[in-house]
Amino acid sequence: MVEAFAVASGKGGTGKTTSTLALGMALANDHDVTVIDADTGMANLLFHAGLADVETTLHDVLVEGGAPVSDAVYDRFGMQVVPCGTSLSGFSACDPAQLREVVATLAADTDVILLDSAATLASRSAVLPVVLADRVVVVLEPTIPALSDGLKVQEYATSYGTGVAGQVFNKVRDPEAVDRIAEKAGRYFEGPTLATVPDSDRAREARRAGEPLLAHAPDCAAAEAFREAADRLTVRDGGPEAVADRFRSAVVPDPP
């Protein structure tokens, strides 16, 4: 059983990385989970997962003749975590198109792959995780630009044959208004509202502590909401070969 999800938003600041790690930890109760920082230009998962000082990251793998993928995989919080570096030189040197090979390799030995995606649709490397995934989880805030950009992510995903797993409304301060907003948004978004996650100081503390929310404050309301979201994500059985094939397929040629 392997299914790859891109956790995406189109807009920065919605809490994508917090959501990726929270969903990953919640899914790890029942599945073998691999989380990959696919935001190769603005990586930050390493800071959320206490991996800021590691030697090998995805940047070192995504270069010609680079390190083997296994060197950039870290067992943390019950998951396999693949962080990405933050240096501009690392980003310049790497070939994001090789991400498909990385994912195909990791797919052989995991149940669920979560791709923490870029907060933009402006470049090929930013959109690539959405193209490669089986389904997207769209992380939204109850604001006009976040919903507008979330819809764009959905349209890109469906245009490229990627399904929609649902939406997470994050950083919610006014649950009643958000219930009404989610209901109206449901007319345009595919898939269910997976959760409404309350705005949380604990999430900010977790980020500062370099720990995923579900490790730092597992009993807080936001953590509970993410567990509910994970429960609603019924992981599909794609078969490791099918996912590997999909990722290795010639969808993305080498850059010119």
Binding site: K11, G13, L121, R124, V127, V131, E141, P142, T143, I144, P145, A146, L147, S148, L151, K152, Q154, E155, Y156, T158, S159, Y160, G161, K171, A177, R180, I181, K184, A185, R187, Y188, S249, A250, V251, V252, P253
Partner: protein, 182 residues
């Protein structure tokens, strides 16, 4: 809404309405901002968004095309794509009468929150807003700007349609062509 003519301070194309709010806040503008979409289709639909400010803090929102004011007007001001922004300065006394129009008022942080979706701008606005204004609660049952945005089906569908066209156009450019044909 008839706004007295002010002194033009700034006139430029902006990609995000948040720029209007942050410019007004940074200048501690007493006056108003006019936003007009630059997209040909939206431009043809007509209308300008107007936001008034007291010392940089938003007070009223109104849209000339929809003739809506208050939170619903923020949904009309929100456009996908660039807008022409003009910032005008006015003496506070010239705005006083206008600002009595309570049906056009918005909470000080609502534009930064719902229209701009910018948490740091929300915080900066909250820090500088007079305490008396922050105590203004939204009226019960008042339509949230995000709800008003979602009720504008043609606008939301236009955003989706444009994204689909963009995704398909870029598929070729980026070598995702096979994915589109799946």
């Amino acid at each position: 809404m008839n706004v007295p003519h002010g002194r033009l301070l700034r006139s430029r194309v902006v990609s995000d309405p948040a720029t209007a709010l942050s410019s007004a806040l940074d200048r501690e503008l007493t006056g108003y901002a006019v936003l007009e979409p630059q997209d040909a289709v939206l431009l043809a639909a007509g209308g300008q968004g107007i936001l008034t400010f007291e010392e940089g803090i938003p007070v009223l929102a109104y849209h000339t095309g929809s003739d809506r004011g208050g939170p619903a007007a923020l949904a009309d001001v929100a456009v996908d794509g660039p807008s022409w922004l003009e910032l005008y300065e006015l003496p506070a006394s010239d705005l006083a009468e206008l600002h009595d129009a309570t049906d056009l008022r918005v909470q000080p942080t609502m534009p930064a929150n719902r229209l701009a979706g910018d948490a740091s701008l929300v915080e900066r606005t909250r820090e500088r807003a007079p305490a008396s204004r922050l105590e203004d609660g939204a009226d019960a049952g008042e339509l949230d700007p995000v709800e008003a945005f979602l009720e504008d089906e043609s606008k939301v569908e236009a955003i989706r349609e444009r994204a689909r066209e963009q995704a398909e156009a870029r598929a070729e450019e980026w070598g995702f062509g096979d994915a589109v044909e799946q």
